[in-house]
Structures are given as C-alpha cells and as structure tokens.
Symmetry: C2
Subunit: 337 residues, 2 copies
C-alpha cells in the first residue's frame, strides 16, 4: 500500500499547523476562527492530496467509532438479509456504518464475532441471537453498550428488544386453519428453546386447545430447510396424515415444499400449508403460500430508533416491544368444511 496522506502532509503543504488542519477538516473552522484563506488552502490541499481521514486514529482520541454492529444467524435467509439491508441503509442516515456479522446459527461463532466487534469499538449492537444463552449479551449491555435484540429475544431478561407478536401470529394462523375445518394439524418448529419459537408453539397450542383439540403433533427442532424437509417426510409416513401443516418459519417452509413436491402431495388439495415469514417469491409458487408476515421494515426502524436514543441520549429504559404480524391470505389453505 502506498503511504497514506495524513493531516501532517496537509499541514506541511499549506504551511499551517496540524491543529488548524484538523479543525478545518472537521468543520470547526468558525468555532475556532480560522481565516477564510486558510480554510480554502487546507480544503484544496486535502483534495489535491486525496486525503482520507484515518477513522481509527480519530477514534482512539475521541472514543467515537461511528460504528454499530448487526449480527444475524444467516445472511442466506432472505428474512435476515432483508433486515440487514434495511438496517444498513437506515444507520447510514445517522452518519454511522454497520458491521454485519453472520453467526451461522452457531452460538460459539456468535460469541467470537461479538468479541471481535467489541475490539472494534462498536457503539451499539443489534442482534438476532441464535441460541438460548443470553449471558454474554447481557454482559455487554451491563457494561453500558447499547444493545437491542430483534426478531429473537429472551423473556424475563432485562434486554431491550423489538420483535413480532409471535404468539398472536401463531394463534391467528392456527385459528385460520381451524376455521377452515382442519383438525389434524402438524406444527413444524425451529429451535425449541428460542423465545419466538416457544411463543409460536404456545399460540398454536392455545388455539388448538380452545378448539377442544388435544391430538396434534409438534415436530422439528431446527430453523433449517433440512428440518422442514425431514419432518414433512416423516409426517406423511404416519397412518394418520395431517390435513394441514403450520411451518414456523420460511426455511422450514422451503423444506416442507421440497418434501411435498417429492411425495407429490398437492397444496392445498392434499394438505394445507401456512407459514411464518413472507417473501416475494411466495406469490409465485405453484400454490401461493398463505403466510404470517412480520413487519420487517418497522422492526428495523424501531430498533434503530431505540439504539440511537441509547447512544445519543443515553436513554436507559429497557424498551421491549412486539409488533403485530399480518396474515397474508393466499391460496395454500383449503376449506374442508
């Protein structure tokens, strides 16, 4: 790498001191009454020399890195990619930059990433925690780092979060299936210990119980395509096959689709399907999938709002909010009444 130009070079070139250069380049010229001609000279020299400020040096001095971190379980999941894209764009408006980490649904990687990010003096963290351990995250929060969990979070832990009302989403999805005459409903879940998953399962169960149905299956243990695939395969090995499947997220739904296709089971003729999470492609599937859409954009925006109110205003409240999901009715649920 060619040696970089620094403010000292500019000082030399203009015959002014680095102090003056720094002040002009930081827009503090007026405040420190730097002469107009000096300002001109400095700005011109900076342009000519292609000066690029060294954030790290500045950060070392000021303690401000203008950086926040986002950790998601998998950028490959369009749901999280969407969040990342949104957050990235929103954060830029605050003059900050986002470092995106991908924990690959692996808590150990998550921890390592977190340390690396802390080493980089992040001023805030938005995280979709990928496991059920929360201590390492709470620890950072206690240290004073502004932290917001999104999508996934921890109940009964004093950490701010913004997520979807998963219970309600699952409850209404199940209700919808019930209202269409389904009784034998299978629910394919993700990571069991995760709060959203627990709440979704609970919403499902409550709706079932309210309908007086106690004979349902809840299977699966992982937010993966593979899990959706295998569990769907298994479901149709049983003597009593479900008339409807409730997939607890988009990747599981994909596995589901794959298995159903292989088995030549038609949606919604042979089985009805409803899933958590939306995606543009869902509309173009063989059968457009009815889904529980999470307000991704709102979640991102609110999370950032909270984060920056912690960063800038030193807000101390532990905000915990759940946004209402929205059911998008398409064609994957058959009325069997």
């Amino acid at each position: 790498m060619a040696p970089k130009v620094n403010i000292n070079d500019i000082a030399l070139k203009t015959g002014l001191s680095i102090t003056t250069v720094s002040r002009v380049l930081n827009g503090k010229a007026e405040q420190y009454r730097i002469g107009k001609k000096s300002q001109q000279k400095i700005k011109e020299a900076a342009r000519e020399l292609n000066y690029i400020p060294n954030q790290y040096a500045a950060n070392l001095r000021t303690g401000k890195s203008n950086t926040i971190a986002l950790i998601v379980p998998s950028l490959n999941n369009p749901f999280f990619a969407g969040i990342a894209s949104k957050i990235n764009a929103e954060v830029r408006k605050f003059g900050y930059i986002t470092i995106i980490g991908d924990s690959d649904e692996n808590q150990e990687i998550e921890k390592i990433e977190l340390l690396q990010l802390m080493s980089r003096n992040i001023e805030g963290l938005i995280i979709v925690p990928c496991g059920n351990e929360w201590e390492h995250i709470k620890h950072l929060h206690d240290l004073g780092l502004p932290v917001i969990c999104i999508d996934r979070y921890f109940e009964n832990v004093d950490l701010p979060y913004v997520s979807t009302d998963n219970y309600e989403g699952a409850y209404s999805a199940t209700k919808y299936l019930l209202d269409h005459g389904h009784v034998s409903i299978a629910c394919i879940q993700g990571v069991q210990a995760a709060t959203p998953n627990k709440l979704r399962v609970q919403g499902f169960e409550d709706a079932m119980k309210e309908a007086g149905i106690t004979d349902y299956s809840i299977v699966g243990d992982d937010y993966s395509v593979q899990n959706g695939y295998l569990e769907t395969k298994l479901l149709f090995q049983h003597k009593t096959k479900p008339t409807a499947i409730f997939s607890l997220n988009n990747t599981i739904a994909m596995g589901c689709l794959k298995a159903l296709k292989e088995e030549k089971i038609k949606i919604p003729e042979d089985v009805s399907l409803i899933t958590f999470d939306d995606h543009p492609y869902l509309d173009f599937l063989a059968t457009p999938l009815t889904c529980i859409a999470q307000p991704v954009s709102d979640i991102s925006k609110i999370a950032i709002k909270f984060l920056f109110s912690r960063i800038n205003n030193n807000e101390k409240n532990i905000n915990q909010v759940l946004l209402k999901p929205k059911m998008k009715i398409k064609e994957s649920v058959r009325n069997i009444l």
Copy 2:
C-alpha cells in the same frame, strides 16, 4: 459505556510492564523469553478483568486492520446475500473480518461507502460494482489496495475479477430456446453499460444471428423487479408476442413472473421463460424455472484466494477469470417444434 480495561490495567495488576503484557497477549512470549509464571499471571489477569483488545489502537501502530470490505449492490437480492454470506464465512478463516456495504445500486452511495471504508483502513476490497464508472475503483487499486471485482466487472480495465462466463451462459440459454423451436424471443436486460449485461446480450444476439434470426427485441435497462414487470407487460401489448422470454437476472425474472401472473399468461404453455441466476425457490414456483446458475460459491472462494494472495504475498498479477455457468433445466421452456 464503562471505561474499558486496557493493557495498562493488566500491567498494574500484575506488576509487570505493558511491554510484557502486550507480548504475552500477542503470543510472542516465547520469542521474547517471558517467564512462565509471568505469562500465567498476565493471562489470568486478562481474563479476570475481561480485557478486550483495542483493535484500533493496535492498527494505528501496526497498520494492520485485519479487515476487508465487501460492497454489493443489494443485500436484498438473494444472489448477493448468498455471496455475502459465503465471503463472510471464508474471510473469517483467515482471521479477518468483513465489513459489508450495500450500495443500493447507486454509484454515488458506492463512492461514499468506499471512502468510509478506506477511512477504516481496510486491507482489501471485494466489490460488485454497481455502475459503469470504474475510475474510483481503479484508483484504489493503483494506490496499492488489493481489489477484486466479482460478478460485475470492467472490460479492458486492469482490475482483477472473478465472474461467470456470461457470454457462454447467455449463448447456451438462447441456443436452448432455439433448439426448442422458439424464434420470437424477447430478452429483458439490466443495466446496459454493465459488462456482464453486455456479454449476456451479446451471447443472446450471437446465438440468434447464428440461427439466422434478426428480428428479436432486447428491452429493459435496470436490474430491478419493476423493470422486469414493466417490460413484460409491454411485451405483451405488441401485436407479435414473444413465445419465449430470456430474463437476464433473478430480479428481472421476478418482475416477469409478476406480470405474467397478472396477465394470466401461463408458463410454459403460453410463453417459455429462462433466466440467469438460480435460487432455491425457483424449484417450487408454479412452473420451476429453467435457469443459468452461476457458481456463487466458487466465485467467492476464488475471489478470496486472490485477495489474500495479494494481501499476504503481495501478488501482483491482475487475475481475471471467468467460471462456467451451469444450465439447470426445469420446466419453464416448452418445446414448440
């Protein structure tokens, strides 16, 4: 934020000098013959105090940031999200971290991001350039920053790149349509000035001309869903409607699907469709889409290999490689012979 623990605190606590602390914590204990007990004490103290090294300070001294940057046009596009995910994971293996930028298909944002990243002392850059200006990227390359373009790149510019053989992909896709009896083929393109787009168009045209067909339409000007949608709508306003559409990327294909669905035009009965770019969802569409799949994983790996050979071995060759795409034949092309 709570005041952070630094090596000085450890030095104080252990009664050793910061020099010794630094050396032990950097694994240079043996090299500098630090006593075993001292090493123990230091490591223990670091753990007890929850020491987190300050990368920025270290970087300031050493010039190594252990950071590379990735800029993609849109994380929302699953194709780029996949690349980002892959690169993120691969880079970690080298002990580096990736800062991901999203240019939102906007060259001005790309430039701004680039500056911000340079301010953060990145040691390398992998970029999917979103426009047809290459000077700002070449400039960084000339400055000595290891740069690799992926997916999109510039012809006749001395910048390393790893991409797909777009010409071949488009040529064989077109050939495939022709072989199935299609004559009236419409091609919906993306950003016209972009190299991959140009090559795809060229592959399309060459195949058509070879078949003796000169009457074809090439429409569109943008890698957006909207573009695919509008152009498809327009195509079917004409008196002579195409029997096949060749979509030049996945987002365009989505717009295409949307328009076809609205117009109740069936694939492949009414029109055949083939698209560049693969995605898991493609298999589950109403009609699984035949596509030209790019070797995303290989592109990412090779790019990183090149990048680190520049970073570590000061490799100077301008590597420019094109990988063969793979046609995945599904059900969206009808044989009309």
